[in-house]
Amino acid sequence: MDIIVCLLLFAGLFFFTGGAVGILRFPDFYSRLHPAGKLDTLGLLLALIGLALFNLHHFSLGTLLTSLKIILIAVFVFLASPTATHAIVDAGVRAGLAPWTKGEKRR
C-alpha cells in the first residue's frame, strides 16, 4: 500500500518538476503554457490520488469522506485548470503577443 502511495506521489512530483523546468526553458509565452497547463494538472491529480489512498489507511467513514473531498479537489481542478489556461491564452492574444516561430531567438 505504502509503495503504491509513494509511486503515485513521486510520479506527481516528477510531472511537477517537468512543469517547473518547462516554464523556465520554453522560448515564448504560448509554449510556456503547455507545461504549465498540462503537467501541473496531471501532477496534481496523481499526487492527490496518492494522498487520498494514504488517508484510507485507518479505514472509517470519516477518512473515506476526507478522501472523497480530496478527490473533489482534483475534479474541481480538472474543470478549472484548462479554463484558466484558456483564459491566459486569450489574454495573451488580446494583449497582442505574437507566437514564437522556429528559428527566432527566445524571449
Binding site: V21, L51, N55, D90
Partner: protein, 97 residues
C-alpha cells in the same frame, strides 16, 4: 512515511522557488500569470501534505478546497483585464472578431 511527506514538501517548496522566477522576471505580465498559476497548483498539494504531517487532514482539506476555488477566480480576473483593456474592441465592433 512522515519523512517521505516532509521531503516531498521540501522538494515542492524548491519547485515553487523555480516557478517564482517567472513572476519575478517574466518579460510580460502574462508570463507572471503563468508562474502564479503554477505556484497555486503546487500550493494545493503542499497544504494537504502539511495536513498529513500533522495527522489532521480533515482540517487542511477545507483550506485546500477553498484555495483551489479562489485561485481560479484570481487568474480569471487578471486575464479579464487584458480582454477589456488592450482588447481589440474597435475591430470587434465592426464584426471582424
Amino acid at each position: 512515511m512522515d519523512n517521505v511527506f516532509l521531503y516531498s514538501g521540501l522538494y515542492l517548496a524548491f519547485l515553487m522557488l523555480l516557478s517564482l522566477y517567472r513572476p519575478l522576471f517574466g518579460p510580460t505580465v502574462v508570463d507572471r500569470m503563468i508562474g502564479v498559476n503554477a505556484i497555486g497548483s503546487k500550493t494545493t498539494v503542499l497544504l494537504i501534505l502539511i495536513g498529513l504531517i500533522f495527522h489532521r487532514v480533515e482540517m487542511f482539506v477545507d483550506i485546500a478546497l477553498a484555495y483551489a476555488m479562489l485561485n481560479f477566480l484570481a487568474v480569471l480576473a487578471a486575464s479579464r483585464y487584458f480582454q477589456k483593456r488592450k482588447g481589440l474592441y474597435d475591430e470587434a465592433l465592426f464584426g471582424k472578431d
